[in-house]
Symmetry: C2
Subunit: 434 residues, 2 copies
């Protein structure tokens, strides 16, 4: 029989680490939905303490709830569940370790920590029959992590692609809509609060890398070494590239992509990608995130929603907490699903895909012939071409290629760059077909 009944509800004591926008949103969501959560879990949630860095900040909750002594929370014998909402690897990792050592279930929103130490931490939780949930670490409120762990668990996932960073998707959407360049949109996004002053984590693809690493680990069952993941950001995308993407029927998105090449060998990568306008991911705009996947049984599936922000992330944290509560009330054994380490991710040079290439050339007869012959010698065939004249006898050519191997493509464009008729390799980009 469930240990909790209407007459005698189980009280579950929760400690917060961190009280920024996610912590504040989580607190508000728990307070707003006490009855609903009780109906779904049979438990009353009691927030006993909130660990913070700066005790001097004004907060609209009783001051005795707050402490700067985080260790006192993760070691408190009365606390059942710790919500880790600090972010970053070091302090957060130390606290999660201590919390597990002291027999606490953990819910975390920390993508960096799970991407780097998930395998070890989840195994530790499993050995102690504790829950360690991290839905909020990927895609904000989008419930993709649990779906991969549970509902889709019977599928072999063939490929998974995600728009996993709201800031870069917002910037790309505006660049396309306004014909504006990257630097201007970034500056404006920073002014509006859509991008942080230090934009490296978002714009250079680190945030996306952490998230695709987590999705790869839970999908394929082993953690990938982050240093094996090819990572490019969106700084070098020009307005001309946006133009040619449209001409060719594509849109440019920063994607995290993983696919299984052979058992225990993935290709995991983060880079700007041209995807066809007919693909569902092409319609995910502004700050929205999405995860698309193809499973052997489920077929094509997509989740989309708000990938960041206090309230959507709180939704995921509370969803995880509800699962922990249900597990405590039902006296289950903890539902952490361990995964190992040492998943191999192939170098990007072994990728086989289509490419977009933009060149500045001498605008004269024979140029196209020389370029296509040079590419062809490296087994790079062309499927589409657009050319326009520029001032001073120069021209611009954009191509789409057939599927070829990245190392062939890279070698080919080096040779193309040495042709007399080619004055500059302006840019190139990987293209997804479906």
């Amino acid at each position: 029989m469930p240990s909790s009944t209407l007459a005698n509800p189980r009280t579950i004591k929760v400690g917060f680490l961190g009280f920024g926008t996610v912590g504040e949103g989580t607190h508000r969501m728990l307070s707003d939905n006490v009855d609903e959560i009780f109906r779904k879990t049979g438990a009353k949630i009691n927030i006993t303490s909130i660990g913070i860095k700066d005790a001097s900040k004004a907060r609209c909750l009783p001051s005795e709830l707050f402490t700067t002594d985080l260790k006192s929370i993760v070691t408190d014998p009365k606390i059942d569940v710790v919500l880790e909402l600090i972010g970053g690897e070091e302090l957060a990792g130390e606290m999660v370790d201590l919390a597990l050592d002291h027999g606490k279930h953990v819910v975390t929103a920390n993508k960096e920590l799970i991407a780097k130490q998930g395998s070890r931490l989840i195994s530790k939780a499993r050995k102690k029959n504790l829950d360690l949930h991290f839905e909020a670490a990927v895609g904000g409120g989008i419930p993709v992590v649990q779906a991969l762990k549970h509902q889709l668990a019977g599928n072999d996932v063939i490929k998974l692609m995600g728009i996993l960073n709201g800031t870069t998707n917002y910037i790309l959407t505006r660049m396309e809509a306004e014909g504006a360049n990257f630097a201007d949109v970034l500056a404006d996004a920073q002014k509006l609060g859509y991008a942080e002053a230090d934009s490296t984590n978002d714009v250079d693809g680190f945030d996306t890398m952490y998230k695709i690493a987590i999705l790869a680990a839970i999908t394929f069952g082993k953690q990938v070494d982050l240093s094996d993941i090819h990572r490019e950001g969106i700084r070098s995308i020009g307005t001309e590239d946006m133009h040619y993407a449209e001409v060719f029927g594509y849109r440019i998105k920063l994607l995290g992509i993983c696919e299984e090449i052979e058992p225990d060998t993935l290709m995991v990568r983060v880079h700007p990608t041209m995807i066809p306008r007919t693909h569902q991911l092409a319609h995910v705009d502004d700050v929205f995130n999405a995860v698309w996947l193809k499973g052997d049984f489920v077929g094509d599936l997509m989740f989309s929603g708000r990938g960041a922000g206090g309230d959507p992330t709180a939704s995921a944290v509370v969803g995880d907490l509800i699962d922990v509560c249900r597990n405590i009330v039902n006296e289950g054994d903890g539902s952490a699903i361990p995964y190992g380490e040492g998943m191999k991710s192939l170098p990007i040079s072994e990728l086989e895909t289509r490419y977009y290439l933009r060149l500045e050339v001498q605008d004269c007869p024979g140029t196209l012939g020389q370029i296509s012959t040079t590419l062809g010698r490296r087994k790079v065939g062309l499927t589409a071409m657009e050319m326009k004249s520029k001032v001073g006898g120069l021209g611009e050519i954009a191509f789409l290629t057939h599927v070829c191997r990245e190392e062939d493509f890279v070698a080919a464009i080096e040779e193309v760059g040495n042709l007399d008729c080619v004055t500059k390799i302006e840019s190139w980009m990987r293209v997804e077909q479906s």
Copy 2:
């Protein structure tokens, strides 16, 4: 400690009821993924018997697995889990009841049964600490049922809309793309196997009604009486309506919609709807299904994927079965989440929304003035108008209205129909703004 270890895996015995495309797909998925399922659950699945109607059909599995005596399966003391894949209400309901009576966990793909008897069956399962899962009943392989029950459980859902029937979405997509009329596309869809010979269940919205009823029950916690749900199908949509939808910037989809009007009072409805091209649901085409919702914390969220077919549905059945196995291995108490009955759904006359209206009129000065004055008297304001001349002094006018009350709109168009300058009310449709 988990009762199952690598050295001593727990074997879970499963009986099938039904072996059509979903049953066959489920069997194949379980066979293909034995190791993966063991890794995720700690259990080995053993299919002990398969209940079928027609023993004479050739099947590529040992004949001793099959029986036409379904009762022998649901009462077999050795069986742990019953997969109900028969469909329909009567026989399936009887078998699920018996299975629960005999202490078996149940996974079902049966939308009609859950829509009609879900509250009673889930409560029964809960009282016996058994699981009763039904992810496959809504949206095929799209994991929306579990997401609503678990990850999104802390949200107040403000509105939920779904493209829940693949056949009608396929027909509407083709009508729009080809400018073809309903009857021709239906006939072709039947020839191609996308629509059944008896298309009533799909085309007249029954299938969508069952599914939106289930989504409403798990989202808002109480079952709605199906007779309270307003239901319209897609038979009356004309090629002209498709044309004006495009002119006004909309697409026509058959939606199941539920929203909370006040606590314990919903508006649940099924009808063709114009939705803006900027809405994510507008890009869900062909046989794809999608569920979109707005939660108070998570914001806008959408799931899309294959809503029918043997393999996608099998994906959901196996996902549920994996959860049951994990629960058995972890010695949990069953995770059925009961909901009550008696949720009120308001009559469609109380709906407040925007409308599309198409009229055949006398093509002469003053016509528009008379119509808009008549509508205005009933508090129906206009936001867009398109008119074209037809032969014989006739014309066609299409309008979009401001938000108004359905009973006002219906009364208004009755009066409009009585005007001398209006020769025919061709069609009208509800319009969603966001």
